[in-house]
């Protein structure tokens, strides 16, 4: 418990009658980078603001290094928490130079010049100190915002969708630079994002927020290979979802049976959904099969194939090989081979 840098216990929060956070728990260890994923409106930003101290939670405890900063009738003002913040638009102070922005949170007796340069260097912007924020590109502004948050060596940095305002071409490069800077600084960070590849690239662990609760927290690979929640499974990567039922040691699907020991995560329901990643599906052309291709179209590195099995339509998503598309004309009969699956999960329609 005292090992945790950040500890959240039973956090609840509502806006009016809408409950956005509903008994949420999370621990972040020192030096760890955790990505917080979730759909828009899932409460990600609110959670970040509760940690930074801009919002007082309705219930639950927020502790930093074992010290309660919110809850239990205590509330520590944001300026005393030592939680750095990188907002969506960077929010650089437009009337200050880049160096003055970075030095803003440094105390007077500290070696401000040296520390400022150090932090600008960390984000790859050494020598930009005299510029004005409006002379920088969007990506540079975001990196300055990160340097500014890191400068006072905060206990924790909250980055709220810091790259969502950037062009997609720029995003990857900037997020990699920022991840490197965070790691080099040994910072503890919570990265709020809805972009799975960004989360997987940057974070040690990924937490998935759905309807105010964390439905899965684990290593990036866990979310991909062994999702425990359908939302999390879909958000973590491309999926094929097939309605299925459990029968003893196998899960029975219209595409064939998959042995339970070959499935990453199996919930104990009897009827549910089988989650397959593209590489776990293989399509073989086979005349006389009862699976008929209705349509096939490429989707960047994967191939989406709509098939009909005994009148039931299923959308498949499989890894793509060069000649697939030519063979899969409508009406083609195929066999679908599934040797493994990521998860067998409760059906969302019976879940709610």
């Amino acid at each position: 418990m005292s090992e945790s840098r950040l500890s959240l216990r039973g956090i609840t929060h509502s806006f009016g009658s809408t409950r956005v956070l509903d008994g949420l728990d999370l621990e972040i260890a020192p030096g760890e980078i955790v990505a917080l994923m979730g759909e828009s409106g899932s409460g990600k930003t609110t959670l970040g603001r509760i940690i930074a101290g801009f919002v007082a939670p309705d219930g639950g405890l927020v502790a930093l290094d074992g010290e309660t900063v919110a809850g239990d009738r205590r509330f520590m003002a944001p300026e005393r928490r030592g939680v750095g913040v990188v907002p969506q638009e960077g929010a650089l102070f437009p009337h200050l130079s880049v160096a003055a922005n970075v030095a803003f949170g440094l105390s007077r007796n500290a070696d401000r010049t040296r520390r400022t340069e150090e932090c600008l260097n960390l984000v790859g912007l050494a020598g930009f100190g005299d510029r004005r924020p409006n002379e920088l590109s969007g990506g540079q502004q975001q990196r300055v915002a990160v340097a500014r948050a890191l400068a006072p060596a905060p206990r924790l940095v909250v980055l709220d969708e810091p790259f969502s305002g950037l062009d997609s071409s720029l995003r990857r490069a900037v997020s990699e630079q920022v991840a490197t800077a965070l790691q080099a600084a040994g910072a503890t960070a919570l990265l709020i994002t809805h972009d799975a590849s960004e989360a997987f690239r940057t974070a040690d662990r990924v937490a998935f927020l759905d309807r105010g609760r964390l439905v899965q927290v684990g290593a990036p690979d866990d979310l991909y290979e062994r999702p425990t929640d359908l939302q999390a499974a879909t958000a973590a990567g491309t999926t094929t979802l097939v309605t299925a039922r459990r029968d003893g040691s196998a899960v029975v699907t219209p595409l064939g049976d998959v042995p339970v020991e070959h499935i990453g995560h199996v919930s104990d329901v009897s009827v549910g959904v089988l989650v397959l990643r593209p590489w776990q599906l293989q399509i073989v052309v086979e005349a006389g099969s009862d699976v008929e291709v209705l349509a096939a179209r490429p989707d960047s590195d994967t191939l989406r194939v709509t098939v009909s099995i005994g009148g039931e339509r299923i959308d498949l998503c499989t890894s793509r090989t060069a000649r697939d598309l030519d063979c899969l004309t409508p009406g083609t009969r195929i066999r679908v081979v599934t040797r493994a699956a990521a998860a067998f999960l409760p059906n969302p329609s019976t879940d709610t």
Partner: protein, 513 residues
């Protein structure tokens, strides 16, 4: 070159040129009048000790009021927008309400109780009360426009609320505050009624003196010319200061309400201050006139009052209709086509608008004497002068209304096979009708309190509410001034509420999460 079916229609240009002429031609005649006087005579008027005193007094009044109103107005804007004082919407309206009390109405209220207040410092006080709302609206808009996440970042970097205010909010609002002060100073330079009631010899009051004292046209024109130069300096200064401030925003910011600073024990100081301010600037004048009125002894006959009221209403309606009719094509031209001619016309009209009312009035006197003799000192020339004074107000409002309408709407209309004229009539116009009605109403009500133009140009024996008030104030008949003063305050409440509403409209659209 755009094809004719896409370019702005010729007829709109004709109206634009007419509107520009209306705004600019009087100034040409003012210049001609000065030219006619000859250089020696102009120098004789300009380079005299009384001229220097006049200039120093005018500038001094403008700058002192600018600084005082700037300080108070910034404070009220901060209390309303950035402190946690309850009822901020209520206090916002309270602070803006002095706009409903014309400066001469406020001035006469003080003089009616204490004749000794008719002095330079009396004028400072009254004009400060009148201009605080201008600064308040200006600065409150800046405070609201700031990016909330900037302040949150500053808090997360270990700065308390007061330090954030001093190091972030104030530096970013600084230029806006300075621009607001210059705007208030400009208002003071242009003010005629308060300084006339308070008998402070500044330019506007001296111009009337020169006009009245056997009408020395050269002296009046030279004084007006000097005032134009002074005003222009303030206009350019305001544009320069404000222009540089807008370049500093980075990113679009996050639409989130700004955090508010807890007042704690200062709460009662803020409430007391705002209450005193409202009492002195609105409560006291209204109370005075109610008192004088109820005290009796008014020599105002009901027929006199009704005649002035009717004249005011008809004049307001005519001017409003004429102004909107002229402003509409020009606003559309500027909003839709951004042609050089349209923009040039708009700028010329805006510049003319910054001229003091008495200068525009005097210019129309010269126009009347020289070329429009048949309508001189008849209603048409009063209407022309008032249209020239209110044109820029109408263009600003209507242009904003046109700009709010997406271009796609008219594009779709034309793609459906309708002619441009038809699309304008069926799609564009209905959308801006509310704006037209609102603009017309504000103009009509603003006209009601206009004093110098009507005073100089009205037909002999005709009066509006404001000129009747002026006549009774001239003989210090408090009870007779009262009904006119109270009616003008009632008329001005609506434009004041509109101004307050426009100032806060932006907040409503912001989301809360």
């Amino acid at each position: 070159m755009r094809p004719a079916s896409l370019a702005a229609p010729r007829s709109a240009f004709v109206v634009a040129l007419g509107a520009t002429a209306l705004a600019v031609v009087p100034l040409v005649y003012l210049a001609l009048q000065i030219g006619d006087a000859g250089w020696e005579r102009v120098a004789d008027i300009l380079f005299r000790a009384d001229m220097a005193r006049l200039a120093i007094r005018s500038l001094g009044l403008a700058l002192i009021v600018g600084v005082l109103a700037g300080t108070v107005g910034t404070t009220t804007a901060w209390i309303v927008e950035r402190s946690d004082l309850e009822g901020d919407a209520f206090w916002h309206v309270v602070v803006v309400m002095p706009l409903a009390v014309p400066s001469y109405v406020a001035a006469y209220a003080w003089v009616s109780w204490w004749p000794a207040t008719a002095s330079f410092w009396g004028a400072v006080a009254v004009l400060t009360f009148s201009t605080i709302p201008i600064i308040h609206l200006y600065v409150a808009a800046i405070f609201r426009g700031l990016d909330a996440s900037q302040e949150e970042v500053a808090r997360s970097l270990g700065k308390g609320p007061w330090e954030v205010f001093l190091r972030l909010t104030l530096p970013q609002a600084r230029r806006g505050i300075a621009a607001g002060m210059l705007l208030a100073s400009l208002y003071v330079l242009a003010d005629f009624g308060a300084v006339a009631i308070m008998r402070v010899p500044v330019f506007t009051w001296a111009i009337l003196g020169a006009y009245r004292a056997g009408f020395d046209p050269s002296r009046a024109a030279v004084l007006a010319g000097a005032l134009v130069v002074l005003s222009t300096i303030f206009v350019l200064g305001e544009a320069m200061v404000r222009g540089r401030s807008t370049a500093a925003t980075v990113g679009t910011g996050v639409p989130r309400p700004l955090t508010r600073v807890p007042l704690g024990r200062w709460r009662w100081v803020a409430v007391t201050g705002l209450t005193l301010l409202a009492t002195a600037s609105v409560g006291f004048p209204v109370f005075s006139y109610l008192y004088w009125w109820s005290a009796g002894g008014s020599e105002v006959e009901i027929t006199e009052f009704l005649r002035a009221l009717t004249t005011t209403l008809v004049l307001g309606a005519v001017v409003a209709a004429a102004t909107v009719a002229i402003a509409l094509p020009l606003a559309w031209l500027v909003a839709r086509f951004r042609t050089r001619l349209g923009i040039g016309a708009e700028r010329a009209i805006m510049l003319a608008h910054s001229l003091p009312g008495i200068v525009v009035a005097l210019s129309f006197v010269y126009v009347g004497v020289r070329v429009l003799q048949p309508i001189y000192q008849r209603w048409p020339i009063v209407v022309l002068a008032l249209v020239a004074l209110t044109l820029s107000l109408a263009i600003g409002e209507l242009r904003a209304a046109f700009e709010q309408q997406p271009q796609a709407l008219t594009d779709v209309g034309r793609a459906c096979g309708r002619s441009r004229a038809r699309v304008f009539a069926r799609v564009t116009l209905p959308a801006v009708l509310p704006a037209i009605a609102a603009t017309g109403a504000v103009i009509a009500l603003t006209i009601a309190k206009e004093l110098p133009a009507v005073l100089l140009l009205r037909p002999a024996g005709a009066d509006t509410l404001s000129t009747r008030l002026w006549v009774w104030a001239g003989v210090s008949d408090d009870a007779s001034v009262a009904p006119y003063a109270l009616t003008l305050v009632v008329f001005s409440v609506i434009p004041a509420l509109v101004a307050a509403q426009i100032g806060r409209g932006r907040v409503d659209r912001r989301e809360l999460v």
